[in-house]
Subunit: 281 residues, 2 copies
Amino acid sequence: MKTIGIIGLGLIGGSLGLTMKKSKDFKVIGFDLNPKNAQKALELGLVDNITEKEALLKEADIIIVATPTKASISVLKEALSQIESHQILIDMGSTKSKICEALKNHPNRKNFVASHPIAGTENSGPESAIEHLFENKKMVICNETESDKKAINTAKGIFKTLKCEVVYMDANEHDKHLAYISHLSHICSFALGLTVLDLEKDEENIFNLAGSGFSSTARLAKSSPEMWESISIQNKTHLLSAISAYMNHLSNLKEIIELEQSTELINEMKKANEIRRIIKN
Amino acid sequence: MKTIGIIGLGLIGGSLGLTMKKSKDFKVIGFDLNPKNAQKALELGLVDNITEKEALLKEADIIIVATPTKASISVLKEALSQIESHQILIDMGSTKSKICEALKNHPNRKNFVASHPIAGTENSGPESAIEHLFENKKMVICNETESDKKAINTAKGIFKTLKCEVVYMDANEHDKHLAYISHLSHICSFALGLTVLDLEKDEENIFNLAGSGFSSTARLAKSSPEMWESISIQNKTHLLSAISAYMNHLSNLKEIIELEQSTELINEMKKANEIRRIIKN
């Protein structure tokens, strides 16, 4: 039985541990920098054992790093320098270029697989871990030619157990697209949360008037600040372009409304409706 | 058995018809300016009969106007001028000040109840009508002292059948709060849809990378252009203030990211997290 070692037992690491444990094909050990999180993960049955990082790096056949992206480069460098040739290292972070860049010339680079599951919720920490989080979701593997075949196949085996569909992308392309398709949504949602809280001092009104539309658009404003600060700054270049493009569209809509240009407004909204082709439900 | 006449058989009018019909306490007749919509509503069982507007205004004990807000003032004026003293008129539009203003001095004003259900989906038209749409949702009644007691009680009876909870607000306050809590979300979502569609010419990437977060924030970009053009322009003053406030928050977040001010970014995101108190699920 192979041993999986998970570093970082939050939503992603915890859900991964839980799902792998339930498969009964793996022993799952875990480490979290925060001992309370580690203890909680053990209590919740997300891992079989908790351990120190050093011990985990020795014992695990497959090491999965699911820390906030800010910490991942140093954790990954340390891990990659310590592992033996039979061990495989996989990371789960939401940004990929800086990680791939930092590890590009590492002598053990081929043992590393840069991955990103397109899965998550607005909740964080081990308490938010859920089984089947990854089921039917995409798992991106970046710069796969920099990993050796064995490492890719091992990672694919894990992702199969998680019931993910693997897609391959260049790390920089991944980060650019994620900026538009995910990171921008989070920043917009944080801004919406701030705006409404700012103005609605009388909270009773929010309770009465908040419909499902507001909940849907502002839900991501509940996301973890530590995680999203880290992603925002790591993917700053692409994210700033995405925010600028978004602000241009928003300014344009604002001007059209101001000038009461009904036809133009309807046309813009119709163009936006095309998103139906992508968001089916 | 009382007869309810519904003018406008889209999502709101259709769902209302369906729910009232199922209660078996009312006969439901309907009219839609678009004969195809009217026919569809009949086929889907949203109404017992379809009829001409003139006939509906004569026959119905309670007339419910659920047209796009753009049309509602003229429809309401026409209806209010034709109804007899025993008939009650209720509108369901998302903006309330202009309607209340326009009908303020109408001799039959007391027979009219200005309402707004905090319920809906991103879909429109009779096909999107659903039973229980209003269940456990709030129903706002605006400027209730301008309606007489009998009218308010009749409306409350209908809303009880719909299983709504009634709340009372001043029309202008309603519009101001709605601008922040609903209309702003829609405009942000339209802008997000436009931005992503603009940049992601290669749609395969959207399919692969769009997670639940994106779906959640961009869902409202599927909303009806005709409906939202009308709401945006009718509630222009408050909506423009809301968009400006939002853009200030967004610009601030953008600058913080640009300058990599991690502590400030975390603090802003933590402030936004307070929305958890309002959005429970």
